[in-house]
Protein backbone atom coordinates (compact mmCIF):
# COMPACT_ATOMS: atom_id res chain seq x y z
CA UNK A 1 0.00 0.00 0.00
CA UNK A 2 1.59 3.27 -1.07
CA UNK A 3 0.57 6.85 -0.26
CA UNK A 4 1.38 9.60 -2.78
CA UNK A 5 1.63 12.99 -1.03
CA UNK A 6 1.33 16.00 -3.35
CA UNK A 7 3.75 18.89 -2.69
CA UNK A 8 2.52 22.22 -4.05
CA UNK A 9 4.62 25.38 -3.57
CA UNK A 10 3.56 26.48 -0.08
CA UNK A 11 2.33 23.08 1.16
CA UNK A 12 3.28 22.72 4.86
CA UNK A 13 1.62 19.53 6.13
CA UNK A 14 3.22 17.32 3.44
CA UNK A 15 5.95 16.33 5.93
CA UNK A 16 3.32 15.58 8.61
CA UNK A 17 1.31 13.29 6.30
CA UNK A 18 4.54 11.56 5.21
CA UNK A 19 5.51 11.01 8.88
CA UNK A 20 2.12 9.49 9.72
CA UNK A 21 1.96 7.24 6.64
CA UNK A 22 5.55 6.00 7.04
CA UNK A 23 6.29 6.02 10.78
CA UNK A 24 2.87 5.60 12.40
CA UNK A 25 1.31 3.16 9.90
CA UNK A 26 4.53 1.76 8.39
CA UNK A 27 3.30 2.17 4.83
CA UNK A 28 5.24 3.29 1.76
CA UNK A 29 4.97 7.02 1.09
CA UNK A 30 6.39 9.30 -1.56
CA UNK A 31 6.24 13.03 -2.30
CA UNK A 32 4.67 13.99 -5.66
CA UNK A 33 6.25 17.28 -6.87
CA UNK A 34 3.69 19.62 -8.39
CA UNK A 35 5.54 20.02 -11.70
CA UNK A 36 5.67 16.23 -12.35
CA UNK A 37 2.92 14.27 -14.10
CA UNK A 38 3.58 10.88 -12.49
CA UNK A 39 1.75 9.58 -9.42
CA UNK A 40 4.59 7.05 -8.96
CA UNK A 41 2.21 4.15 -8.44
CA UNK A 42 0.43 5.67 -5.46
CA UNK A 43 -2.61 3.66 -4.27
CA UNK A 44 -4.01 6.69 -2.41
CA UNK A 45 -3.23 10.35 -3.09
CA UNK A 46 -3.19 12.89 -0.27
CA UNK A 47 -3.51 16.63 -0.94
CA UNK A 48 -2.00 17.99 2.33
CA UNK A 49 -2.70 21.18 4.24
CA UNK A 50 -0.67 24.39 3.94
CA UNK A 51 -0.79 27.68 2.05
CA UNK A 52 -0.29 26.63 -1.60
CA UNK A 53 0.70 29.78 -3.52
CA UNK A 54 0.36 31.68 -0.26
CA UNK A 55 -3.47 31.35 -0.43
CA UNK A 56 -3.22 34.27 -2.83
CA UNK A 57 -6.36 35.19 -4.86
CA UNK A 58 -8.32 32.29 -3.27
CA UNK A 59 -7.03 29.32 -1.27
CA UNK A 60 -6.29 26.58 -3.84
CA UNK A 61 -7.17 28.81 -6.82
CA UNK A 62 -3.68 28.67 -8.35
CA UNK A 63 -2.58 25.30 -6.99
CA UNK A 64 -5.21 23.51 -9.06
CA UNK A 65 -3.36 24.44 -12.27
CA UNK A 66 -0.23 22.48 -11.29
CA UNK A 67 0.49 19.60 -13.70
CA UNK A 68 0.26 16.98 -10.92
CA UNK A 69 -3.33 18.01 -10.11
CA UNK A 70 -4.47 17.07 -13.60
CA UNK A 71 -3.13 13.54 -12.92
CA UNK A 72 -4.85 13.50 -9.51
CA UNK A 73 -8.19 14.46 -11.11
CA UNK A 74 -7.87 11.61 -13.66
CA UNK A 75 -6.88 9.20 -10.86
CA UNK A 76 -9.97 10.29 -8.90
CA UNK A 77 -12.24 9.98 -11.92
CA UNK A 78 -11.01 6.41 -12.35
CA UNK A 79 -12.09 5.68 -8.76
CA UNK A 80 -8.72 6.09 -7.03
CA UNK A 81 -8.99 7.32 -3.39
CA UNK A 82 -8.05 11.01 -2.96
CA UNK A 83 -7.94 12.65 0.49
CA UNK A 84 -7.86 16.46 0.55
CA UNK A 85 -7.00 17.90 4.00
CA UNK A 86 -7.56 21.65 4.73
CA UNK A 87 -5.79 23.38 1.79
CA UNK A 88 -6.18 20.06 -0.06
CA UNK A 89 -9.98 20.29 0.39
CA UNK A 90 -9.86 23.86 -0.97
CA UNK A 91 -7.92 22.67 -4.04
CA UNK A 92 -10.50 19.87 -4.59
CA UNK A 93 -13.38 22.41 -4.62
CA UNK A 94 -11.45 24.63 -7.08
CA UNK A 95 -10.96 21.64 -9.43
CA UNK A 96 -14.69 20.85 -9.21
CA UNK A 97 -14.05 17.30 -7.90
CA UNK A 98 -16.03 18.43 -4.87
CA UNK A 99 -18.86 21.02 -4.89
CA UNK A 100 -19.08 24.31 -2.98
CA UNK A 101 -16.36 26.69 -1.73
CA UNK A 102 -14.45 27.41 1.49
CA UNK A 103 -14.98 31.06 2.43
CA UNK A 104 -13.17 33.19 5.05
CA UNK A 105 -13.98 32.14 8.64
CA UNK A 106 -16.97 33.98 10.08
CA UNK A 107 -14.68 35.53 12.77
CA UNK A 108 -12.26 36.68 10.04
CA UNK A 109 -9.51 35.18 12.20
CA UNK A 110 -7.28 32.14 11.80
CA UNK A 111 -8.39 29.36 14.16
CA UNK A 112 -6.06 26.65 15.54
CA UNK A 113 -7.89 24.49 18.06
CA UNK A 114 -9.17 20.98 18.72
CA UNK A 115 -12.83 20.52 17.83
CA UNK A 116 -15.36 17.73 18.09
CA UNK A 117 -16.72 16.12 14.92
CA UNK A 118 -19.58 13.71 14.42
CA UNK A 119 -19.06 10.94 11.87
CA UNK A 120 -22.11 11.25 9.59
CA UNK A 121 -21.22 8.57 7.04
CA UNK A 122 -19.02 5.58 7.86
CA UNK A 123 -19.52 3.90 4.47
CA UNK A 124 -16.80 5.83 2.63
CA UNK A 125 -13.28 4.49 1.98
CA UNK A 126 -12.05 6.98 4.58
CA UNK A 127 -14.42 6.27 7.48
CA UNK A 128 -15.06 2.52 7.37
CA UNK A 129 -13.39 1.90 10.76
CA UNK A 130 -15.56 4.52 12.53
CA UNK A 131 -19.13 3.85 13.61
CA UNK A 132 -21.91 6.14 12.50
CA UNK A 133 -22.50 9.07 14.93
CA UNK A 134 -19.05 8.51 16.53
CA UNK A 135 -17.83 11.72 18.20
CA UNK A 136 -14.15 12.29 17.48
CA UNK A 137 -11.77 15.09 18.44
CA UNK A 138 -9.47 16.54 15.75
CA UNK A 139 -7.42 19.75 15.39
CA UNK A 140 -8.37 22.43 12.87
CA UNK A 141 -6.00 25.17 11.69
CA UNK A 142 -7.39 27.43 8.98
CA UNK A 143 -8.41 30.92 7.87
CA UNK A 144 -10.95 29.80 5.25
CA UNK A 145 -12.96 26.85 6.56
CA UNK A 146 -16.41 28.40 6.18
CA UNK A 147 -17.95 25.84 3.76
CA UNK A 148 -20.60 27.33 1.52
CA UNK A 149 -22.79 25.94 -1.28
CA UNK A 150 -26.16 26.89 -2.69
CA UNK A 151 -29.35 25.34 -1.40
CA UNK A 152 -29.64 22.66 -4.07
CA UNK A 153 -26.07 21.49 -3.62
CA UNK A 154 -26.52 21.31 0.17
CA UNK A 155 -29.74 19.38 -0.28
CA UNK A 156 -27.99 17.00 -2.71
CA UNK A 157 -25.15 16.44 -0.22
CA UNK A 158 -27.62 15.56 2.54
CA UNK A 159 -29.83 13.36 0.37
CA UNK A 160 -26.87 11.38 -1.02
CA UNK A 161 -25.32 11.06 2.46
CA UNK A 162 -22.19 12.82 1.19
CA UNK A 163 -21.66 14.89 4.37
CA UNK A 164 -18.98 12.82 6.10
CA UNK A 165 -18.03 14.95 9.17
CA UNK A 166 -19.92 17.69 10.96
CA UNK A 167 -18.72 20.00 13.76
CA UNK A 168 -20.50 18.98 17.00
CA UNK A 169 -20.15 19.43 20.74
CA UNK A 170 -18.55 16.70 22.91
CA UNK A 171 -21.94 14.93 23.14
CA UNK A 172 -22.33 14.76 19.37
CA UNK A 173 -25.00 17.47 19.13
CA UNK A 174 -24.80 19.68 16.03
CA UNK A 175 -25.02 23.16 17.56
CA UNK A 176 -24.26 26.72 16.43
CA UNK A 177 -21.72 27.15 19.26
CA UNK A 178 -19.78 24.09 18.16
CA UNK A 179 -19.44 25.53 14.63
CA UNK A 180 -15.98 27.22 14.64
CA UNK A 181 -16.11 28.99 11.27
CA UNK A 182 -19.72 29.43 10.14
CA UNK A 183 -19.79 26.47 7.70
CA UNK A 184 -23.24 25.65 6.28
CA UNK A 185 -24.87 22.77 8.21
CA UNK A 186 -21.67 22.56 10.35
CA UNK A 187 -20.02 20.78 7.40
CA UNK A 188 -16.41 19.78 8.19
CA UNK A 189 -15.93 17.19 5.45
CA UNK A 190 -17.75 15.93 2.32
CA UNK A 191 -17.14 13.26 -0.34
CA UNK A 192 -18.00 12.95 -4.01
CA UNK A 193 -20.86 10.86 -5.28
CA UNK A 194 -18.73 7.74 -5.65
CA UNK A 195 -17.26 8.14 -2.14
CA UNK A 196 -13.61 7.89 -3.30
CA UNK A 197 -12.77 11.60 -2.87
CA UNK A 198 -12.94 13.12 0.62
CA UNK A 199 -12.31 16.76 1.45
CA UNK A 200 -12.11 17.72 5.13
CA UNK A 201 -10.95 20.84 6.94
CA UNK A 202 -9.80 19.10 10.20
CA UNK A 203 -6.30 17.54 10.26
CA UNK A 204 -6.46 13.76 10.96
CA UNK A 205 -2.64 13.54 10.57
CA UNK A 206 -2.26 15.78 13.64
CA UNK A 207 -4.03 13.30 15.94
CA UNK A 208 -2.65 9.87 15.17
CA UNK A 209 -0.35 9.75 18.22
CA UNK A 210 -1.36 10.04 21.88
CA UNK A 211 1.73 12.17 22.63
CA UNK A 212 0.21 14.87 20.42
CA UNK A 213 -3.01 14.79 22.43
CA UNK A 214 -5.23 12.21 20.72
CA UNK A 215 -5.56 9.35 18.25
CA UNK A 216 -9.01 9.95 16.81
CA UNK A 217 -7.46 10.74 13.41
CA UNK A 218 -6.06 7.21 12.99
CA UNK A 219 -9.46 5.99 11.79
CA UNK A 220 -9.16 7.92 8.50
CA UNK A 221 -5.83 6.28 7.60
CA UNK A 222 -6.85 2.84 8.93
CA UNK A 223 -10.03 2.99 6.84
CA UNK A 224 -8.01 3.75 3.68
CA UNK A 225 -5.58 0.93 4.47
CA UNK A 226 -8.44 -1.51 5.22
CA UNK A 227 -10.10 -0.84 1.86
CA UNK A 228 -6.87 -1.57 0.00
Amino acid sequence: MKFGIVVLPGSNCDHDCYHVARHVFGKEAEFLWHKDRDLKGADCVILPGGFSYGDYLRPGAIGRFSPIIREVVDFAKKGGPVLGICNGFQVLTETGLLPGVLLRNRSLRFICDSVYLRVENNKTRFTGTYSKKDVVKMPIAHNDGNYFADEDTLKGLEDDDRIVFRYSNRYGEITKDSNPNGACLNIAGICNREGNVLGMMPHPERCCESILGGEDGKGVFLSIIDCF
Binding site: L57, R58, A61, I62, E94, P99, V101, L108, G182
Partner: protein
Protein backbone atom coordinates in the same frame (compact mmCIF):
# COMPACT_ATOMS: atom_id res chain seq x y z
CA UNK B 1 0.21 45.64 -31.47
CA UNK B 2 -0.66 48.04 -28.64
CA UNK B 3 -0.57 48.11 -24.86
CA UNK B 4 -3.97 47.98 -23.16
CA UNK B 5 -4.93 49.04 -19.63
CA UNK B 6 -7.38 46.61 -17.97
CA UNK B 7 -9.60 47.01 -14.90
CA UNK B 8 -11.35 43.95 -13.46
CA UNK B 9 -14.11 43.88 -10.80
CA UNK B 10 -14.81 40.57 -9.02
CA UNK B 11 -17.95 40.60 -6.89
CA UNK B 12 -19.76 38.00 -4.85
CA UNK B 13 -22.97 36.66 -6.36
CA UNK B 14 -26.24 37.58 -4.69
CA UNK B 15 -27.08 35.18 -1.86
CA UNK B 16 -23.47 34.21 -1.24
CA UNK B 17 -22.31 34.75 2.33
CA UNK B 18 -19.90 37.70 2.75
CA UNK B 19 -18.28 37.36 6.22
CA UNK B 20 -15.96 40.32 5.54
CA UNK B 21 -18.72 42.59 4.30
CA UNK B 22 -20.89 41.86 7.32
CA UNK B 23 -18.10 42.42 9.87
CA UNK B 24 -16.94 45.68 8.29
CA UNK B 25 -20.55 46.94 8.08
CA UNK B 26 -21.05 46.21 11.78
CA UNK B 27 -17.83 48.10 12.55
CA UNK B 28 -19.04 51.12 10.53
CA UNK B 29 -22.33 51.06 12.44
CA UNK B 30 -20.50 51.02 15.76
CA UNK B 31 -18.46 54.00 14.50
CA UNK B 32 -21.72 55.90 14.04
CA UNK B 33 -22.36 55.40 10.31
CA UNK B 34 -25.77 53.85 10.94
CA UNK B 35 -27.02 54.42 7.38
CA UNK B 36 -24.58 51.91 5.86
CA UNK B 37 -26.31 48.93 4.25
CA UNK B 38 -25.68 46.00 1.88
CA UNK B 39 -21.90 46.38 2.13
CA UNK B 40 -20.22 43.76 -0.10
CA UNK B 41 -16.45 43.41 -0.47
CA UNK B 42 -14.88 42.08 -3.68
CA UNK B 43 -11.62 42.38 -5.62
CA UNK B 44 -10.42 45.18 -7.85
CA UNK B 45 -7.53 44.38 -10.23
CA UNK B 46 -5.52 46.63 -12.51
CA UNK B 47 -3.06 45.38 -15.11
CA UNK B 48 -1.54 46.06 -18.49
CA UNK B 49 -1.63 43.78 -21.52
CA UNK B 50 1.29 44.17 -23.90
CA UNK B 51 1.47 43.55 -27.65
CA UNK B 52 -2.22 42.89 -28.09
CA UNK B 53 -5.24 44.48 -29.75
CA UNK B 54 -8.51 45.70 -28.24
CA UNK B 55 -10.42 42.66 -29.52
CA UNK B 56 -7.74 40.18 -28.48
CA UNK B 57 -7.45 41.85 -25.08
CA UNK B 58 -11.22 41.51 -24.51
CA UNK B 59 -10.99 37.81 -25.38
CA UNK B 60 -7.98 36.99 -23.20
CA UNK B 61 -9.23 38.98 -20.16
CA UNK B 62 -12.55 37.14 -20.40
CA UNK B 63 -10.68 33.82 -20.45
CA UNK B 64 -8.49 34.84 -17.51
CA UNK B 65 -11.56 35.67 -15.45
CA UNK B 66 -13.35 32.47 -16.40
CA UNK B 67 -10.38 30.20 -15.76
CA UNK B 68 -8.66 31.77 -12.77
CA UNK B 69 -9.52 35.23 -11.52
CA UNK B 70 -13.17 34.56 -10.62
CA UNK B 71 -14.66 31.47 -9.01
CA UNK B 72 -17.82 30.87 -11.07
CA UNK B 73 -19.53 29.13 -8.14
CA UNK B 74 -19.70 32.29 -6.04
CA UNK B 75 -18.35 35.23 -8.05
CA UNK B 76 -19.36 37.45 -10.98
CA UNK B 77 -16.82 39.47 -12.96
CA UNK B 78 -16.82 42.48 -15.26
CA UNK B 79 -13.92 44.34 -16.79
CA UNK B 80 -12.99 47.43 -18.78
CA UNK B 81 -10.29 47.45 -21.45
CA UNK B 82 -8.86 50.72 -22.82
CA UNK B 83 -5.76 51.73 -24.73
CA UNK B 84 -2.88 52.52 -22.36
Amino acid sequence: EVKMKVKIYITLKKGVLDPQGKTVQDALHSMGYKGTDKLRIGKYMEMELNDTSPEEAEKSVKEMCEKLLANPVIEDYRFEVEAA
